[in-house]
């Protein structure tokens, strides 16, 4: 047997016959040519059953030619390379391609699931809403798992997508969506007028409908004209031509997404997809139209297909979809398709035209007739033709055939127009949903606008191109538009169905005409209800072929005009877009940059265990040989408190504030006063949100009369910058203040512990560190380790402590030089965990306590707030609920059992039994304190301060943990602050 039994001897402008390709489908080896799609390859090989339907597992074959294909979805590739649900019409054939059918076992050709078709009678639309409710437990145990087993088409992918996907953002004057005659004419006109043009088309070659059927432009071949125009466009520097590129989405302000697929024979390294984000001033929508089906019993059998697709396979690929064809339709295209198929070698058994008056002497014409039923089960074997006028005595004509090519007219592809929120109109006479008022800077042209003659498409495309270019400021003369002798309107009278029986509307989800009628009868009268009740149009083809038929059926069932029924919403994307393409460049650090401090390389080399702090990573602790995590952290705390430790605080936000109103501004931004600071001194500052809740804290240093330097927390730094600019630019524009973000410029490290003064004294010999010369909360510029630095005396740990800031380029030098100098002082680097322990021992709050719900008073910081209600947030503190007695307040909890360790996420309860009851509050921070030898926690507890001395329970029901603790002051360690003085 020949390898390609249905391939013609010659012809097929998309294929290259010089060397055959081999491919596998469902375990069988076939042969095709370079340039084939999988669909054309399967047809050439004579594979008729290429898919199984969703619900009834009925055999299905290729129906369409491109993105509209509802039937043949396959899994391409095997094993980890498998990609499910690809339409066979969109897969370029390549050497060694392995594809398999879906939703069938053991194969699509022989599928045991086909037995389900027999149960079809009790499974009408929406059957699951009416049953599976008894007994209640069975829903979860039995029914739903069963339903889920039946769900889905292709297999779930076993592995991630490993291919490279690219993205590109470009600006254009004119984007033309669709490279058929209208689109190419539009692009040429716009480009000649001087516009920057992007022309995108989903096929491998521009030409649109001319790929499927020959046509004349000027006085020559249409495709030749397209090729010449393409060549001219290719030569223009401001034009970009995208092939195999589908315009999938139309978004705000003329941003369009175009998904470009790699060619079948693309060299290795070519991105599998390239997503173009095109920001266009103007858009020409020349997306063409989709051929409609006709409804008759058995209209889903393999061998029943779109007439233009049948013609297209012959013309573009030299493939015969059958040997003996019945061609049936409601418009003139059936004759040209019949002649095209005949010249390719198909025997034309009959051409059935629903219109009574048409004739074509060269063809076996059956005017006024339509298909009432297709025979055959695994493939079509014949068709029953019957008069459309219902005249009595018509017994019908049964004609043997293996191809029924159906031409139900055209549905303009109004998707992009509708996505741009253009309005639609319904042309009752022509049975067309048409683009009406555009919803953005766009215009539709050609078949997408309901023009089906070649001459009209060219003229409309050209005019749209000229107009789009002009609207974007380009008005050079573009020359004369191309013309075509084809001026037939191509209109089809509205005709949908003949006869009864199982007429499929939505081939993918097995929705029949009876389902639509049932939905209407049950009161699901909105077109959206019908869609959702029956699944009509919800498939991966998004109803490109089924939509219009469903609409007409529903309107007929409800006895109302189609225009009143309306359409469902056209949602993007127009065709499915690979997730991996959308995610390209945005995985891991690509999405979430990892911020590193200047000393990061050192931490990494030292083997630090990191934690995330916003985008930053910070060392949690530095592992020590022979001990575990807890011991290492405790050692860092002990050694710092006993000697000296160093911690990287380079992640803190830092802001330089200058300008004549700087002090007044800071008084308004902070809840406490800053204008009274003396130059060279600093103060802890508390920032509130306008609703009175604690927003951020940090230290404010006055460097000069109108010059301040302040720190923010790591997490809120960007928010604080934005907040300050907001206040300066919108609330108090009269203030002259310049806030400059210097977080990236400064690296900082803190030395803490009683030994810090001695170490710093050595590293900064020029600096007088006596309490008199350098008191708490003072700042000095100095050379530290021979580096230009700012030194602050402040403490977070409760120990004598200095924070040293240097320009970040010197950050690593500062860090390593201090560590070297510190060797003799027993200097120990510590991480955020040790820092957290020490701050908890001192009762300093962090975002665990200032969680966006707490007021300064809740946190015991009420006395810091000055009375000026003009400052941000202060006025809200007077609202009743913020002054209410019984609010949760910050307290310390000292665990009574010295051996107990507190697990994460504990609640605070009256009793330890963990039975349901309203808790008193919750633990915000907890640690084991090596300093005090027991577990400590900070907690927000109802009326907490009044409970000091009481015993409560710290409990975690999800881990079954509970222990008793005493409510104490949140400052556990050195409440008098003796150690700060060193």
């Amino acid at each position: 047997m020949r390898r390609q039994p249905f391939r013609t001897a010659e012809g097929g402008h998309l294929i290259d016959r010089t060397g055959p390709l081999r491919f596998d489908f469902d375990g069988h080896r076939h042969e095709g040519y370079r340039g084939d799609s999988l669909a054309s390859g399967l047809l050439a090989a004579g594979v008729r059953i290429a898919a199984r339907s969703f619900k009834y597992h009925r055999p299905r074959g290729v129906w369409g030619f491109g993105a509209e294909e509802p039937n043949v979805m396959v899994t391409a590739g095997i094993g980890e390379e498998a990609r499910p649900n690809l339409k066979a019409t969109e897969i370029p054939l390549s050497e060694g391609l392995e594809a398999s059918g879906q939703n069938a076992w053991p194969s699509v050709a022989w599928d045991l699931g086909g037995a389900l078709g027999l149960a079809g009678g009790i499974l009408p639309a929406g059957f699951y809403y009416k049953t599976f409710m008894w007994p209640a437990r069975w829903w979860l145990a039995l029914y739903e798992p069963l339903l889920r087993r039946l769900a889905g088409f292709g297999p779930a992918p076993p592995a991630p997508d490993g291919a490279f996907h690219a993205k590109r953002r470009v600006n254009a004057d004119v984007l033309v969506a669709g490279g058929g005659p209208a689109g190419v004419a539009a692009a040429l006109a716009a480009a000649r007028a001087g516009a920057r043009v992007v022309l995108a088309d989903e096929n491998v070659r521009f030409g649109g409908d001319l790929l499927r059927a020959p046509g004349e432009i000027g006085d020559g071949d249409g495709l030749a004209w397209i090729d010449a125009a393409t060549a001219e466009l290719e030569g223009m520097s401001r034009v970009r031509l995208l092939r195999r590129a589908t315009v999938t989405g139309y978004y705000d302000h003329n941003l369009l997404l175009v998904a470009e697929r790699a060619a079948g024979d693309a060299p290795p390294g070519t991105p599998e997809t390239r997503l173009w984000f095109v920001r266009a001033r103007e858009v020409v929508i020349a997306a063409g139209a989709h051929e409609r089906p006709l409804l008759f019993a058995g209209n889903d059998r393999p061998g029943v297909m779109s007439a233009s697709a049948a013609g297209g396979y012959a013309h573009a690929y030299g493939v015969l979809a059958g040997r003996r064809a019945v061609i049936a339709g409601n418009n003139d295209s059936i004759y040209s398709v019949a002649r095209l198929l005949r010249s390719a070698g198909v025997s034309i058994a009959a051409v059935a035209d629903t219109r009574p008056d048409s004739e074509a002497p060269d063809l076996p014409c059956r005017a006024g007739r339509a298909v009432e039923r297709a025979f055959g089960s695994r493939r079509v074997r014949g068709a029953l033709l019957r008069r459309t006028d219902g005249r009595a005595g018509d017994r019908g004509e049964r004609i043997a055939c293996d191809l029924v090519a159906v031409a139900g007219g055209w549905s303009p592809a109004v998707h992009l127009h509708a996505q741009a929120r253009g309005s639609l109109s319904y042309d009752e006479e022509r049975g067309l949903i048409l683009p009406d008022r555009p919803g953005g800077a766009n215009r539709s042209a050609g078949a997408a606008a309901g023009r089906f003659d070649l001459d009209g498409c060219l003229a409309e495309g050209w005019a749209a191109g000229v107009a789009a270019a002009a609207s974007s400021g380009h008005e050079r003369a573009a020359g004369e538009p191309p013309r075509s002798p084809d001026r037939s309107a191509g209109d089809a009278p509205v005709f949908w169905q003949l006869g009864g029986g199982k007429r499929f509307v939505d081939l993918q989800y097995d929705v029949t005409a009876a389902d639509v009628e049932l939905a209407a009868r049950e009161g699901y009268r909105s077109v959206e209800h019908v869609k959702r009740y029956t699944a009509l149009g919800m498939g991966t083809d998004q109803g490109k072929t089924s939509g219009m038929a469903g609409l007409v059926l529903l309107s007929e069932a409800l006895g109302r005009p189609v225009a009143r029924t309306g359409t469902t919403t056209f949602r993007p994307p127009y065709t499915p877009v690979p997730m991996a393409a959308m995610a390209a460049g945005l995985i891991g650090e690509g999405q979430d940059a990892l911020r590193r401090t200047a000393a990061d390389d050192w931490h990494e080399a030292r083997g630090a265990v990191f934690t995330a702090a916003g985008h930053w990573r910070r060392p949690r602790y530095y592992p020590r040989e022979g001990t575990g995590e807890d011991e290492a952290i405790e050692a860092e705390v002990r050694e710092t408190r006993a000697g000296v430790g160093i911690v990287d605080v380079g992640t803190l936000g830092k802001v330089d504030i200058q300008g004549r109103d700087a002090a007044a501004f800071l008084d308004l931004v902070y809840a406490n006063r800053m204008s009274s600071l003396k130059t060279g001194r600093g103060r802890y500052g508390l920032m509130l949100r306008e609703d009175g809740r604690v927003f951020d804290d940090g230290v404010v240093m006055r460097l000069g009369e109108s010059h301040f330097y302040l720190t923010t927390t790591t997490a809120q730094h960007h928010a604080v910058m934005q907040h300050m600019e907001y206040l300066l630019q919108t609330v108090w524009p009269e203030l002259e203040v310049y806030a400059t973000d210097v977080s990236e410029h400064w690296f900082a490290a803190a030395l803490a512990g009683p030994g810090s003064r001695a170490l710093l004294g050595e590293a900064a010999p020029g600096l007088d560190l006596s309490d008199e010369a350098f008191p708490m909360m003072a700042v000095h510029a100095a050379a530290v380790a021979d580096l230009p630095a700012l030194v602050f005396r402040m403490s977070y740990s409760g120990e004598l402590s200095y924070e040293i800031a240097v320009p970040a380029d010197y950050g690593l030098a500062l860090w390593t030089r201090l560590l070297t100098a510190g060797r003799e002082h027993g200097l120990v680097p510590y991480g955020t965990d040790a820092m957290g322990v020490m701050r908890l021992e001192k009762g300093h709050v962090t975002h665990a306590e200032a969680d966006g719900r707490t007021t300064p008073d809740d946190l015991g910081l009420g006395r810091m707030v000055r009375a000026d209600a003009r400052s941000i947030g202060v006025r809200s503190l007077a609202l009743p609920a913020l002054r209410r007695k019984g609010r949760q307040q910050l307290v310390g909890l000292s665990v009574i059992d010295a051996q107990a360790r507190i697990p994460p996420g504990c609640q605070v309860a009256e009793s330890g039994d963990m039975r349901p009851a309203p808790p008193l509050g919750h633990v915000t921070s907890f640690c084991y304190s090596p300093t005090l030898g027991r577990a400590l926690a900070l907690a927000l507890v109802e009326n907490g301060r009044a409970r000091t001395g009481q015993t409560v329970h710290v409990a975690s029901p999800v881990t079954g943990f509970s222990t008793a603790a005493e409510v104490v002051s949140p400052v556990f360690y050195d409440a008098e602050g003796v150690r700060l003085r060193g």
Binding site: G439, Q722, E725
Partner: protein, 86 residues
């Protein structure tokens, strides 16, 4: 994705900006004298029209200016954008 015509930087993608809500929601000049109702009007009760809306955007990744933008919340048509503080 909106295209916001920053008066200083020119047309920029929405992703460069941070949204700031209703423009013209004026902070009481003397918060201490404002009633709870007036104060919470400012805090919580904002215009929410389906249609033209004056709103604030912060050009975070550009000139770092707060813009006052007039935008239709239904069509997203952007009618004007100016610097909040000229």
């Amino acid at each position: 994705m909106l295209l916001i015509p920053c008066p200083f930087c020119g047309d920029r993608d929405e992703t460069e900006f941070a949204y700031g809500g209703e423009a013209g929601n004026e902070r009481p000049a003397d918060p201490g004298a404002a009633t709870d109702e007036a104060w919470t009007d400012y805090l919580c009760f904002h215009d929410n029209p389906k249609g033209p809306h004056r709103e604030l955007w912060f050009h975070r990744d550009g000139c770092r200016r707060w813009l006052t933008v007039e935008r239709d919340t239904w069509t997203h048509e952007l009618r004007s954008a100016r610097l909040s503080r000229p």
